[in-house]
Amino acid sequence: MCAEELDFVEKYDLLGCIQCGRCTGGCPVALRTDLRVRCFMNDTQNEERLEELSEKPEIWDCTTCFTCAARCPKGLEPLEVLIGLRSLQIEEGKVQPTVRDALESIFKDGNPWGSPRAKRLDWASDLEVEVLEPEAEETTDVLLFICCTDAYDPRVMKAAQALVKVLIAAGVDFGLIGDDESCCGSEVRRLGEEGLFEMCDEENVELLNSFNVNRIVAISPHCYNTLKKEYHGLKVPVLHYTELVAELLEDGKLELPKEVAKVVTYHDPCFLGKQNDIYDEPRYVITRIPGVDFREFDRCRERSLCCEGGGGKMWVESESKEERLAEIRVEDAKEMGAEVIAVACPFCLLTLEDATKVKGVDEEMQVMDILELLAEAL
């Protein structure tokens, strides 16, 4: 390990921290695990303690929801310190087998699910979609960037399939990358595997820049955030699908003839809301669906509760026996009489749907991607 990598104080501006504790105060997982992020802002100033701190299991409890950073009066990003500690473990090769396997699978097959690259496009096998050629003469308006979870998880791929149907209905000129598409690396970076993330950045930027398109639309907020804010050198703008669909509705290109008579609430994904201030578009889209009775969570928008799906949590189980945050979310939704929790992120879809089963309300309450609601309204 070189000294430069160990210099946490400078890298994360630790001396700027006034130990006010707003970060821990807002941290959703502090409710159920031992993670106290403020302490790490203090303790990591001591270089000699870094190794010991990096071995604490709670550094893996952080969902990288960004609440701490959003609340810090000094503009610091405490979660990055935790990611930095994870990096130390990664460089030592000391990570949970589940994390190791996910990272090795990304290196080998371009997805964290241990699934072959050759099956990347199976989700679209029954759909009329165009796979774009690199360096094409003709410009295509939209290039879809499909998340690995949408591509391989049979439950989540329904959202991707719905997206295709919606875009076809709206007459959008769009295409897919095909099985050269690779993981965006959002989770890779948050698991602390910086080197592999750099590879994702370089290779994906080169791949994406090879397409003659006006813009890229990501289905997952995690991919969206990474492509838009963490990649270097992308030539075209990146949108989340809710932005595109809102535009299509506004321009009258997308018509929703059918009623969906349901009580619907919306769960803000951290990577769309807190991290990218996209709060209005999803709500605009949902409320344009005829028949929908829309209700807000008490904790919504900036104050929305994290579902615990991000930050590598897919592969790391917290030891806590306390109720999962997604379960709290489902209870709140039940209380307000929601029949559908609408989401706009593959991880939220998984964690919340799972929580409806744990709570035994999966008969009366559905978790659906906004795209699936839209497809019902077509």
Binding site: K108, G114, A118, E193, G195, L196
Partner: protein, 264 residues
């Protein structure tokens, strides 16, 4: 303690459909991803753990084309010290004994106390290289090894072999020796991307059949006894075979299937 680890780069076919190519003697590998053979990953970890405990050096050897450098580098990133790759057109089409001959020729010139290989490969799965290699080197061996305890560095080890049904057979073995390592013996570490990149700076020594003093008629297809005539797909269905009937009947059918497959 000086150790040698043999690693093979293999296609990952665990979840992919395997298509036979036009020749009928090979598969279409164009859409497959490749990586280190699973057992070999454990063999690497075992060698490195011993090195960390007792000091010494680990030499990584692979027989294969340039692409094999990728798995060699991964082993180097985890703590391997030196690397050798055996490459020669003459090695092509060799069976397990022919591969063992080439590996033996490369290892003979090294100073070693223990040679680790995987117990078997995910592709061909002959499970023959470690035992044949030991015979060629004239040293004792054990394969299906799931426990290694060094009794006297450079002299003696106690090893546990995993037999059918999970029974362990313990034996004492003199060094130098060859051990065929089984999965599950340890928990392989992660090789970070940075580590692999740094390992790329280490030199991988290339050796041809001539460098190893091998006659081309001894290795590859010429030096092999078995020749592949043809691949055929085995008959298996895609979806589950649903057993029909009342609970009585379905249970009986399932019990019979489990018995026939030797699972109960």
């Amino acid at each position: 303690m000086n150790m040698v680890v043999c690693v093979k780069r293999v296609p990952d076919t665990s979840e992919s459909e395997v298509h036979i190519d036009a020749s009928g003697k090979d598969i279409d590998k164009s859409r497959l991803s490749f990586g280190i053979n699973e057992c070999d990953n454990y063999a690497v970890e075992e060698a490195i753990q011993i090195k960390e405990r007792l000091e010494g050096a680990v030499t990584v050897i692979s027989l294969g084309s340039k692409e094999s450098d990728e798995v060699i580098r991964m082993a180097l990133a985890k703590g391997g010290d030196e690397a050798i790759r055996l490459e020669d057109d003459a090695f092509a089409g060799g069976d397990a004994l022919a591969v063992a001959k080439a590996l033996a020729a490369a290892i003979k010139g090294l100073e070693y106390d223990m040679v680790f290989t995987g117990a078997l490969t995910d592709d061909d799965g002959y499970a023959a290289v470690p035992v044949a290699l030991a015979e060629l080197l004239g040293v004792p061996h054990a394969t299906y090894v799931k426990k290694v305890e060094i009794l006297e560095p450079g002299k003696k080890a106690k090893v546990g072999r995993e037999l059918e049904g999970g029974l362990m057979e313990f034996l004492e073995i003199d060094m130098p020796c060859v051990l065929g390592i089984q999965t599950g013996i340890n928990e392989p570490r992660y090789a970070s991307f940075k580590g692999i990149k740094q390992a790329a700076k280490k030199e991988i020594a290339l050796k041809s059949a001539a460098d190893l003093g091998l006659d081309v008629s001894d290795v590859g297809e010429a030096g092999s006894w078995a020749v592949l005539e043809q691949f055929t797909p085995p008959v298996v269905g895609e979806m589950a075979e649903i057993l029909e009937g009342e609970p009585d009947e379905t249970a009986a059918k399932l019990a019979a299937i489990l018995k026939e497959k030797g699972l109960v």
